[in-house]
Symmetry: C2
Subunit: 381 residues, 2 copies
């Protein structure tokens, strides 16, 4: 009887959930059911978590994304070195279940506070600090094959969008061609259930690294004259921005062009947008954009754009180290044009920020540089 | 003849400028005219810059803002130790003049690149690095009594807004009650010439410290149920957010309530919003909001909200030092309730983040904490 009642209450609660929430909730309940099944059969409860170590990350040459391999780690309750993480994993699972059932979202900081408490009758805390909780959140993501956002946990908002697209964000229709100078702040959760593309006239997406560069393009109404969508991610784009770019590319077939600094950090940002990152390899499927293209800056731009020597910035030892590492990434390694690009950076001995083009003219980047690359279809892939 | 022609061309260019731009441009030209006047009379050219040292910053008790005193520094061309900064100051002035005349804006990074070059016939660079340029920008601001934004130089965009207000941003009407989960990204330049308040039904502004807290309030539609405007500044609010809060308070008479962490950093953010900052004292007039109120978190909240000990964070030595410094600020010093607040923080020995309230319930902050403070009108001033 009691069991039936619970089930009914559960069904009633779940009725409000969307399809994706139901799917995630089922995975979470499945994880707990597995544990219960083991216990009721008198076997030691455990959870299996796909390994997130570097050795379990591979570059899939045909799909052109970074993927996780199949190796898994067992996490057992009756194992002194694993009991704590075992408990934390189930705790995070139960916290996410609560969030989904309540139809609420929170930050990783919020989830940490939601779950942090002193275990009754002991002085032991569930989590010592945020750093104790974050890897467990990633564990649950990868174990359930669910994006963090599907677990109702979000990263901080960074990045903005303007251009010829109308989106519906939680019931509000947002015309990104009428967003003034500030633009639409790209939220962390941009899954189809909360954000739909209403209409889109744009031909492509221009993604720039920094908000300061983005402002130049917005102020010059570049997206009007070139019929595009303009995004930035304030440096390394956060998950919401990457996921949105992925959806614009996949669902609306918009090419994604990346305007980044001519330095190892710019190369790396491009690499993450295109192939996914090593740390978050389990998310590549829905984050990576193998067709993304690099519009610049390029190492040849110092000569090509006839820049003043004073705008160059000397490469640091770390820059040189990073550039060599990136050149050896398996996805850059076979590409002659990228090898040439990186080699030229090293022989230049300096890097160039996109803002350096301002020394030519305040609007050189919007009126000369990008239009010339677009006209010549001159990109690195 | 030649002179007349120049004047005509100048008038034609200036015709497109708005009233504020014209005023700023006149100040810039005035600065150059002064220099020319000295030179043509055979006297050594110099510029006078109000001193930005701590000794020239005072708390104005009647206006309740931090203000600059009247002491000035002379910067002379024919003075070996000043010639370089003299040249840089005029260079920044001429760069800002160019921006205003072109009707364009840029970041401090952009201005740096715009002005950076190797001086002809020498190996001397106009600016060595960004740190060489930034104080000079502040000098020009303070010398002309113009906000950085009026010089067409902006800080980075941070912060967002939702709520019952419609603004016009550069010709686009933005209804902040229909901005989805992302909100309207508050731009750096929010002066009247580019942003007008179209209509506002809200009764007050709730400004929260972090975007993660802001999301909780937005998700719970707090601004609908409490008819307010909801802003955040991603920590210490950037200039655009402070200026917008100031305008909402001054022009629309909206009270500004601040929800910040219970730690010295939270106190400091409140202090800057309310009285202005020591570094940017020359901007207090248009940035500070003497009527801003502190809604929490308070040091009494650990008991008042019956929080779990595990959510407390031990004060560091630096926290203790900062708390004592802040207690001695001349604007906090005479306030008994603030002295009690800070004393209690120190005797607690721990700080509390707003997110700590999540340990009570995910929406405790929006459904219990803030509504209770609003009902009791229980704020610190």
């Amino acid at each position: 009887m009691a069991k039936k009642k619970t089930t009914t209450a559960k069904t009633a609660r779940m009725a409000k959930l969307n399809a994706r929430d139901k799917k995630t909730l089922n995975s979470l309940v499945g994880m707990a059911d597995d544990v219960e099944r083991f216990a009721s059969r008198g076997r030691a409860p455990h959870i299996e978590i796909p390994s997130r170590s570097l050795s379990n990350v591979k570059y899939n040459k045909s799909r052109k994304i970074i993927e996780m391999g199949s190796s898994k780690n067992k996490r057992e309750l009756f194992n002194l070195s694993q009991a704590r993480t075992y408990m934390q994993t189930l705790l995070v699972g139960s916290g996410c279940k609560q969030l989904i059932e309540q139809g609420k979202t929170t930050s990783i900081r919020g989830l940490y506070y939601l779950l942090k408490h002193t275990i009754e009758g002991t002085r032991e805390e569930t989590f010592v600090d945020q750093g104790d909780c974050d890897p467990v959140i990633e564990d649950v993501e990868v174990a359930l094959n669910a994006l963090r956002e599907e677990l109702h946990v979000y990263a901080s908002n960074r990045g903005a969008m303007v251009g010829n697209i109308v989106v519906n964000d939680n019931g509000d229709e947002i015309d990104c061609s009428r967003m003034g100078s500030g633009g639409y702040a790209i939220p962390s959760i941009v899954e189809e259930e909360v954000m739909q593309f209403v209409s889109c006239k744009a031909d492509f997406v221009l993604h720039v690294e920094k908000d300061t560069v983005w402002r130049r393009f917005n102020e010059d109404k570049f997206w009007q004259t070139h019929n595009c969508i303009l995004t930035h991610g304030n440096g390394q784009p956060p998950r919401g921005v990457r996921r949105l770019l992925n959806r614009l590319n996949n669902e609306l077939n918009l090419p994604v062009l990346c305007l980044l600094d001519n330095d190892p950090w710019g190369y790396y940002i491009y690499s993450v947008i295109k192939q996914g990152s090593i740390n978050l390899a389990y998310e590549s499927k829905r984050m990576a954009i193998p067709g993304a293209r690099f519009i610049g800056l390029r190492s040849i731009d110092y000569e090509r754009c006839d820049l003043n020597p004073s705008v160059t910035i000397k490469l640091t030892d770390n820059d040189i180290k990073r550039a060599n590492q990136i050149a050896n990434y398996p996805w850059f390694e076979p590409k002659k044009r990228w090898q040439k690009e990186i080699k030229k950076l090293l022989s230049n001995g300096f890097k160039l920020e996109v803002e350096a083009l301002i020394s030519k003219d305040i609007s050189y980047v919007t009126e000369e540089y990008v239009p010339a690359r677009l006209a010549d279809q001159d990109f690195l892939d």
